[in-house]
């Protein structure tokens, strides 16, 4: 799904929710996943002016989950460990985005190259 303007955020959240409901995720985990998705989409809009978000249903053993991939061609992140620290922000936000998002999901992976863009992958297991 293409994310280009802020009006895309709400439909995207609804799509994530549809998938989460389909695999029977609990309300709390749904909320966490959607909030995390919302944070990342917002980052993408703010720092890279948009990008692509992919929603996938995955399974491992008896556990089902949802994987979200966010790709952008923005400026990239210079210092990932620093960006993952609570309270750090280059923009004028609370600096909770990335580390907070990580706390909300089961698995979190971030890859970035300066000047080329950033890819963030998150996984939330149904019972995670």
């Amino acid at each position: 799904m293409l994310i280009e303007k802020e009006q895309d955020v709400v439909p995207f959240r609804n799509r994530v929710k549809e998938h989460a409901v389909k695999i029977g995720m609990s309300l709390l985990n749904q909320t966490k996943l959607i909030t995390a998705a919302s944070e990342l989409v917002r980052n993408m809009l703010k720092y890279a002016g948009g990008g692509v978000a992919i929603i996938e249903v995955i399974s491992q053993g008896r556990d089902n989950g949802i994987r979200l991939i966010f790709q952008d061609q923005g400026p990239g992140i210079k210092d990932i460990p620093q960006a993952m620290k609570d309270g750090f922000s280059t923009g004028k936000s609370l600096g909770l985005g990335l580390p907070g998002t990580k706390r909300l999901v089961s698995e979190f992976d971030i890859k970035s190259k300066e000047g080329e863009g950033t890819t963030v992958t998150i996984i939330k297991w149904k019972n995670g």
């Binding site: 309300l27 959607i34 909030t35 919302s38 917002r42 936000s93 609370l94 909770l96 907070g100």
Partner: protein
């Protein structure tokens, strides 16, 4: 242009957020609300978010902003009806909504506002009584 309606009820302003907000709508609400506070001289702001399934850091910041802005304009803000899942998620995210009061529902929120503002007015009254002497 979409706007969130702000209701005036005596000394209070009442906002019910019924739909998931996108950013522009939320920032508009912030501006509108602060202007309403100044125009009406409201003493309390009550925001009902029971219909919100998601509060992310942006929305949380808006709520916090409204709280602090109203505060310096001498109005208390109460956020009511937060969903349990939303509360847990906010805490996990690291947001505590400092500067705003919370209540379970609109009724309890109104009670809270009334007592908060009531107690201030009592103080003011007492001061008024004392000052002429």
């Amino acid at each position: 242009m979409d706007r969130i309606p702000i209701l005036r009820m005596g000394k209070f302003l009442l906002v019910t957020i019924q739909i998931d907000l996108y950013d522009r709508l939320a920032t508009n609400l912030e501006t509108d609300l602060v202007q309403m506070v100044s125009k009406t001289g409201a003493r309390g702001v009550l925001i009902d978010i029971s219909a919100l399934s998601i509060v992310d850091s942006f929305m949380g910041r808006i709520l916090g902003n409204i709280g602090s802005m109203s505060k310096i304009m001498d109005a208390e803000t109460v956020v009511v009806g937060m969903q349990p899942a939303v509360a847990i998620t906010l805490i996990e995210l690291g947001l505590e909504l400092k500067g705003v009061h919370t209540a379970l529902n609109v009724e309890k929120g109104m009670e809270l506002l009334t007592t908060k503002i009531g107690s201030y007015e009592d103080e003011e009254l007492e001061e008024d009584e004392i000052s002429p002497e």
